[in-house]
């Protein structure tokens, strides 16, 4: 029995593209899928990291309180050994705080960088859907320049500079890469 043909399949069962199908549209949808996955992952991680940071700060506040309590009772001769031990342990934990505070900040940088990549993907999707863009090298050059302005941390800039040269039409590479004039993480400058 011959099956009635639907909109989405041919006689031999192969899918038939919709009327608006094009490689550009498909690429845009794939880019949108990547962007959506990254957005969902970032949102899930945001909530988890916020909880983790809140738990960490509570924990360290408790350690600090414990240290203060042991110092306040240090004159009690019956408990001096135990209080000394508590105090030493609290000091050891406190010395790890700076490293932990710095490590937690990497998530903030990561989510910011992922945000820039997400924006790049959605901009790229819109760009390629406009057929007048894909055949015009100067439009690609403008897109590259627009996306390049997103990447403003030293780490992002370094990657951009190392790859952008091969994407750019410009042969003049006399300009120093921007990453060379960027400060390192943690640098402090007073004006």
């Amino acid at each position: 029995m011959q099956m009635p043909q639907t909109d989405n399949s041919s006689r031999n069962g192969a899918p038939v593209p919709a009327a608006n199908w094009s490689p550009q549209q498909q690429t845009a949808r794939m880019l949108a899928l990547c962007e959506a996955q990254m957005e969902a992952a970032t949102q899930d991680s945001d909530a988890a990291v916020d909880t983790l940071v809140a738990a960490f700060t509570e924990l360290m506040n408790a350690v600090r309180d414990l240290g203060n309590m042991s110092k306040a009772n240090a004159t009690d001769p019956t408990q001096s050994k135990a209080l000394d031990d508590i105090n030493n342990r609290c000091n050891q934990l406190s010395s790890q705080v700076a490293a932990a505070v710095m490590a937690f900040q990497f998530y903030d940088k990561l989510s910011q960088r992922l945000g820039h990549v997400r924006y790049s993907l959605s901009t790229m999707a819109l760009f390629i859907c406009d057929r007048s863009n894909s055949q015009r090298p100067e439009h690609w050059e403008k897109l590259l320049s627009t996306l390049g302005r997103l990447y403003r941390t030293a780490e992002e800039r370094e990657i951009f500079d190392s790859i952008a040269g091969s994407l750019s039409l410009r042969v003049d590479n006399s300009e120093e890469p921007l990453s060379k004039e960027m400060s390192d993480a943690g640098s402090i400058e007073l004006f």
């Binding site: 700060t57 403003r152 640098s187």
Partner: protein, 120 residues
């Protein structure tokens, strides 16, 4: 009485880290999630120092610096920018807006506290 620091960042975890660091050193911390929230506070409340991020929704950090410098009570107080932005151009914009200093994330708690002590 402890100094009051207005900490502005759209990232909740960054605000927590900044608050934890500053409160551990005895400062009182007021938190704001963006420039609009910070400016709302500043119009009615006093801070001895402002520590702000740059990229935030609704109002970015550099606009906030300019707006704060327009308020008579914030003309002379230190405003430190704490950001991932590391380029000289953006830094120059911050200086022109009236920022006192520029700190590139990730911050080291001890260095942050030393810088705050220096400018307060």
């Amino acid at each position: 009485m402890s100094s009051v620091i207005l900490a502005v960042d759209d990232s909740a975890s960054m605000r927590q880290m900044v608050r934890f660091t500053l409160e551990s050193a005895g400062y009182e911390v007021i938190q704001a999630a963006d420039g609009v929230e910070a400016l709302d506070y500043a119009k009615g409340g006093k801070a001895d120092l402002v520590l702000t991020d740059v990229n935030m929704p609704r109002m970015d950090g550099l606009t906030l610096v300019r707006e704060l410098r327009g308020l008579s009570s914030y003309k002379g107080i230190p405003i430190l920018v704490l950001t991932t932005e590391a380029g000289q151009e953006t830094k120059a914009q911050g200086k022109q807006a009236g920022a006192t200093g520029w700190i590139v994330k990730s911050f080291n708690p001890e260095q942050l506290l030393a810088t705050i002590q220096r400018v307060l």
